[in-house]
C-alpha cells in the first residue's frame, strides 16, 4: 500500500506514452496524452495525502480539530487540470485542421515532414 499510488501514477504515464507511440489515430493520441497527464494528478495528490486527514476546508470543521491533508498539492492539481483541458482543446483543433489538409489522421500516412 505504501507505494501503490506512486506506482499507479508511473503506470498511467508509461501506458499513455505507449499509446502515443503506437497510435494509429491522432485523436486517439491526444486522448493518450490526457492519460499521461492524469498520472501527474495521481502523483501530486498521493504525495499530499495524510493518513486519517480530512479535506482542508474549514467551513464545517473547527480549525485544528482534525489533521488535514496537504492543500498545496490540491491547488497545484487544480491548475494542472485546467492546463490539461486547454492543451487538449488546442491539440484537437490542430488535429481537425490536419484532417482537413492531409485527409487523414493516421500518423503513419502523415509523412510529409521528413529529414
Amino acid at each position: 500500500m505504501s507505494a501503490a499510488p506512486y506506482v499507479v501514477a508511473g503506470w498511467l504515464f508509461l501506458m499513455g506514452c505507449y499509446g502515443l507511440a503506437t497510435s494509429r489515430n491522432l485523436i486517439h493520441a491526444v486522448g493518450c496524452l490526457a492519460v499521461c497527464q492524469s498520472s501527474t494528478y495521481v502523483l501530486l495528490l498521493a504525495v499530499g495525502y495524510r493518513s486519517g486527514g480530512t479535506a482542508p476546508v474549514f467551513s464545517d470543521i473547527a480549525p485544528g480539530s482534525r489533521p488535514v491533508v496537504d492543500p498545496i498539492v490540491q491547488a497545484l492539481t487544480l491548475t494542472d487540470i485546467v492546463i490539461g483541458a486547454t492543451v487538449t482543446a488546442l491539440l484537437l483543433s490542430l488535429v481537425i485542421q490536419v484532417a482537413k489538409r492531409h485527409r487523414t489522421v493516421d500518423p503513419d500516412e502523415l509523412s510529409e515532414l521528413r529529414g
Binding site: V73, V87, Q97, R101, L113, G115
Partner: protein, 604 residues
C-alpha cells in the same frame, strides 16, 4: 517604486495588452491593433531595461514576493520573482525580440481572421508574458505554469497558417512532444515536493542541504524528470525532433522568437534549476551533472550540424543550425563555472540577433518568390542585393566572424570547455555558417550550376515550396520594416561583441547566477551577497584566431560546394539519420523515453 516591484509589471503588461486586444479586437482596425501590440511589448521592454539598469549598479538580487508573502525565518507560503541580472537580461532580450518580430510583421502579415484583427499580436504578447514570467520566477511550479503558457501559445502560433498542411502538422507534433515534456517535468516536481515539502527554488535547495551525502534514486529521478521537460524545449538530442518540424512551418516572426529565445529559455531553465536547487550540499554532485550535460551537448551539436548541412529548405536549415548551437550552449553550461555561463550568455545574445535576422531574410524570400528552397531560388535573389548582403553577413556571423557577439561567445565558451572542444566548436560553427553561406551564394549570387531539378522535385518532401505569408500573394516590393528589422538585429549582434560595458555586466550576471549560496541568502533572507568576482568575458588573441579560422573554413566549404554539380541522390550514410527525423509522432515519443533513460543513466 523599487526595482523589485517592477518585476511583476514586466509580466502583466503584455498580459493586459493581450486582454485589451482581444476585448476590443472586434472594433479595432488592424493598424490600431498592431500599434497597441507594439506599445505593450515596448512597455514591458522599457520596464525590463529600467529594472536591469537599476540592478546593474547594486549588488543585490531584487526579490519580489507576490502578494506580499515575505518569508519569516526563511520560510514563506508565496511565490517569489527574482530579478537577478541573468533573469532580467533575458526578459529584456525576450521583449526586444518580440518588438522586432511585431515590427517585422507590421502590416505585411497575411490578413488576420475576420473580426479578430488583434489575435496575432495578442498571441505574441501572451508568448512574451510567458517567457518573461519564466525568466523571472523563483518557484518550480510557477516556472512550470509559465513554461506551459509559452508552450500553449507557441503551438497556436506555429499552426497559425491553418491552410498550410505542413504548418498544422508541425504544430501538432510540437504540441504533443512539448506537452509530454511538461508533464514529465511536473512528475519530477511531484517527486521533489515529496522529498523536500517545498516548491521554491531556494526553499528546495535549502531543504536539500538538510540531508547531505550522495544523492539517492529519488533525487536523481527528480532531477532527471524536471530537466527532461526543459531539455525538450531546449531541443537537446534526442528530444530535438519537434524543432525542425515546427520551425520550418511557423510564420517567420514566430520563428524569430522560437529560434532566438524560446529554445535558449529551455537551457536557461535547466541551468537555473541546477544552480538554485541542486548545486548546494545535498544536491547533485557537480561531476554527474557535468557528465550528463556535456554528453548531451556534444551529441546535440554533432547531430544538429550533420542535419543542417543536408537541408535545402532554408527554414529547416536554420532550424537545425539552432539545434547545433543549442548543443554548443549546453556544452558551455556543462562546465558549471561562471566563465562557461558568461560565454554562453554572450553567445545566446549574439545568436538571437543573428538567427532572428537570418529568419527575417528567409521570410522576405518566401514572400517575394513563394519558396524557401535553395535550389528553386537559385540566382533569383540577385534582384534583392540588400537582403543578400544581410543574409551573407548573418552567415559569416554564425560561423564566428569577429567582432560579432557570436564570435566572442564562441571564443569564451570554447575556452571555458577547453581541450578538444575548441575543434568541435570551430567545426560546428564552420559547417552551420557554411551551410548558410552556401545557400546565400546559390540564391543571391547565382553561383554554381543551376540545379536541374530547380523546378520541382516531388520525391523530396523537404523541398520548400510554400504559400507566401503576405496578404494578396507574393510581394512586389519589400516593405522598409522587413528590411530594417534584420539590419538592426545584425547591428545588435555586432554590438554584443563590441560594447565593453555589456561584457562586464554579463560577467557579473554569470558570477551571481552560479552562486548557489548567494541566491538562497538573497531570496530567503533578503541579504545581498557579493559573489566572488571572476574575469568577465573578453576577447583573446586565440579566440579571434579560431573565429577567423572558422569563418574561412565556412566560406571555403560554401564555395567548394557550390562549384560542384548538385547531386540528386543524398549521400548513402545520411539515410538512416534522415529516416530518424520522420515527422512521426510515435517515433518521437519512443525517442523521448529513450532520452529520459539516457539522461538518467548519465546522471546516476
Amino acid at each position: 517604486m523599487s526595482v523589485a516591484q517592477t518585476l511583476p509589471l514586466i509580466v502583466i503588461t503584455p498580459m493586459f495588452g493581450a486582454a485589451l486586444l482581444v476585448g476590443a479586437g472586434r472594433r479595432l482596425p488592424r493598424f490600431a491593433a498592431e500599434t497597441l501590440g507594439c506599445l505593450f511589448a515596448a512597455g514591458a521592454a522599457v520596464l525590463a531595461l529600467l529594472a536591469l539598469a537599476a540592478t546593474g549598479s547594486s549588488a543585490g538580487q531584487p526579490a519580489e514576493w507576490v502578494g506580499g508573502w515575505r518569508p519569516h525565518n526563511g520560510v514563506s507560503v508565496g511565490i517569489v520573482l527574482v530579478g537577478d541580472r541573468t533573469g532580467l537580461g533575458l526578459a529584456t532580450l525576450v521583449s526586444l525580440l518580440v518588438l522586432a518580430a511585431l515590427a517585422y510583421a507590421w502590416r505585411y502579415f497575411a490578413e488576420p481572421p475576420r473580426r479578430h484583427a488583434g489575435s496575432f499580436p495578442a498571441l505574441v504578447l501572451l508568448f512574451q508574458a510567458g517567457m518573461c514570467g519564466f525568466t523571472l520566477t523563483g518557484d518550480l511550479f510557477n516556472a512550470f505554469v509559465f513554461f506551459e503558457l509559452m508552450g500553449v501559445v507557441a503551438y497556436a502560433l506555429t499552426g497559425y497558417r491553418v491552410e498550410e498542411a505542413r504548418a498544422v502538422q508541425g504544430a501538432l507534433v510540437f504540441g504533443v512532444v512539448n506537452s509530454l515534456g511538461g508533464y514529465t517535468t511536473l512528475l519530477g516536481i511531484g517527486l521533489l515536493y515529496a522529498h523536500t515539502g517545498e516548491l521554491g527554488f531556494a526553499q528546495i535547495g535549502n531543504a536539500l542541504a538538510g540531508s547531505p551525502g550522495t544523492p539517492d534514486a529519488l533525487l536523481i529521478a527528480g532531477f532527471t524528470l524536471v530537466v527532461t521537460g526543459l531539455l525538450v524545449k531546449a531541443a537537446a538530442v534526442p528530444f530535438h525532433f519537434w524543432l525542425a518540424d515546427a520551425h520550418a512551418v511557423a510564420p517567420t516572426p514566430v520563428c524569430m522568437l522560437m529560434s532566438g529565445v524560446m529554445v535558449e529559455l529551455g537551457l536557461y531553465g535547466a541551468a537555473r534549476v541546477y544552480w538554485t536547487v541542486f548545486a548546494g550540499p545535498g544536491g547533485m554532485p557537480a561531476a554527474d551533472a557535468h557528465r550528463a550535460l556535456l554528453a548531451l551537448g556534444v551529441l546535440t551539436a554533432v547531430l544538429g550540424t550533420l542535419m543542417c548541412w543536408q537541408q535545402r529548405h532554408l527554414k529547416r536549415l536554420l532550424a537545425y543550425s539552432t539545434v547545433a548551437h543549442a548543443g554548443l550552449f549546453l556544452m558551455g553550461l556543462a562546465v558549471l563555472s561562471p566563465a562557461g555561463v558568461g560565454g554562453v550568455a554572450v553567445y545566446v545574445l549574439g545568436h538571437a540577433g543573428v538567427k532572428a535576422a537570418l529568419f527575417a531574410c528567409v521570410g522576405i524570400l518566401l514572400d517575394r518568390f513563394a519558396s524557401v528552397d535553395e535550389h528553386q531560388l537559385h540566382g533569383r535573389g540577385r534582384e534583392l542585393p540588400w537582403v543578400g548582403a544581410l543574409f551573407g553577413a548573418g552567415g559569416l556571423a554564425l560561423a564566428g566572424l569577429p567582432p560579432f557577439g557570436t564570435a566572442l561567445g564562441k571564443a569564451v565558451t570554447e575556452e571555458a570547455v577547453g581541450g578538444w572542444a575548441t575543434a568541435l566548436f570551430v567545426l560546428v560553427s564552420a559547417v552551420t555558417g557554411g551551410a548558410v553561406l552556401r545557400a546565400g551564394a546559390r540564391v543571391f549570387l547565382g553561383l554554381g550550376t543551376r540545379p536541374a531539378d530547380a523546378g520541382r522535385h516531388p520525391a523530396d518532401e523537404t523541398a520548400g515550396e510554400e504559400e507566401p505569408e503576405t496578404r494578396g500573394g507574393p510581394l512586389s516590393r519589400i516593405p522598409d520594416t522587413m528590411l530594417t528589422v534584420p539590419a538592426v538585429l545584425l547591428a545588435a549582434a555586432l554590438a554584443v561583441g563590441l560594447v565593453p560595458g555589456l561584457r562586464t555586466g554579463i560577467g557579473q550576471a554569470a558570477d551571481a547566477f552560479t552562486d548557489h549560496a548567494g541566491y538562497l541568502a538573497a531570496v530567503l533572507h533578503g541579504r545581498a551577497a557579493e559573489p566572488v568576482p571572476t574575469p568577465p568575458p573578453h576577447w583573446t588573441a586565440s579566440g579571434v584566431l579560431w573565429g577567423l579560422v572558422a569563418t574561412a573554413l565556412a566560406a571555403g566549404l560554401a564555395l567548394w560546394t557550390v562549384r560542384r554539380p548538385v547531386r540528386d541522390d543524398v549521400a548513402r550514410w545520411t539515410v538512416p539519420l534522415r529516416r530518424m527525423h520522420s515527422g512521426h509522432v510515435g517515433d518521437y515519443i519512443a525517442w523521448f523515453l529513450a532520452g529520459v533513460t539516457l539522461l538518467g543513466a548519465l546522471i546516476a
